[in-house]
């Protein structure tokens, strides 16, 4: 059973590596407009949300230390 698990894990690791190589290739080949289609959320929303959270954490937690 262990040997079988090891084989599966090795195969998964190989597949993961191949997937990452393909992602690099797609990044280099795919036009920007098409790349946009694969985004789950808008990047601007992510940046803005992080700014809000960072400000909140600063006010509630870190600002007291300085």
């Amino acid at each position: 059973m262990n040997s079988r698990n090891n084989t599966i894990l090795e195969k998964m690791s190989e597949l993961e590596k191949e997937l990452q190589f393909l992602k690099l290739r797609v990044f280099l080949d795919l036009p920007k407009k098409q790349k946009e289609k694969y985004k789950v959320y808008k990047e601007r929303n992510i940046i803005n949300e992080i700014k809000k959270i960072r400000k909140k954490l600063w006010d509630e937690k870190y600002s007291k230390t300085v």
Binding site: V26, V40, I46, E49, R54, T65, V66
Partner: protein, 165 residues
């Protein structure tokens, strides 16, 4: 004797981490793929993890599983900041970005990667490493690795092997 090329050590700001998980073919994802292929070292901090966790829980639930998966791939996580470290850094940059910049300085990176242009502008003159956007980092990575034929040559090799299966 074969020289092993030095791996870039990159500290990821939270925006880059989430952007990389959000879009599989963007520049931020390119950096994460390089990390998974052991071509760069990604460093983050407990502060980055906390911000990402709060953002995913509140606004981006579809990134929950992929965030967990990323953490399982074992990026380097530096130790939690001490109040003294934050106080010292606050003298340099009076901003809510202080904890992230402090963590980046502590991690001794080659690059800090951020999508926040304001943070980049504010902090660049205060540190002795480059602060770049993901797109600019990818350009530099590709220039520096051209002579080593990475990653495109490796991609071709991999695809050839796949075709031979």
């Amino acid at each position: 004797m074969k020289n092993t090329p030095k791996l870039f050590r990159v500290f990821l700001d939270t925006s880059v981490l989430l952007s990389g998980l959000n879009s599989p073919f963007g520049a931020s994802a390119f950096i994460i793929s390089l990390f998974k292929l052991k071509k760069v070292i990604i460093v983050i901090s407990p502060e980055v993890i906390l911000e990402a966790k709060l953002a995913v829980e509140k606004k981006f639930p579809k990134l929950s599983a992929i965030s967990q998966d990323f953490l399982l791939s074992e990026p380097e996580i530096i130790e939690k900041l001490t109040p003294k470290e934050i106080q010292d850094a606050y003298k340099l940059i009076k901003s809510e970005d202080t904890p992230i910049l402090t963590a980046a300085v502590k991690s001794k990176p080659d690059y800090l990667i951020t999508l926040d242009k304001r943070f980049q502008k504010l902090a660049q003159s205060k540190v002795n490493f480059k602060i770049l956007t993901p797109g600019d980092f990818v350009k530099i990575y590709r220039q520096k690795n051209e002579t080593r034929s990475l990653p495109e040559e490796e991609i071709k090799k991999q695809l050839k092997e796949l075709n031979n299966l």
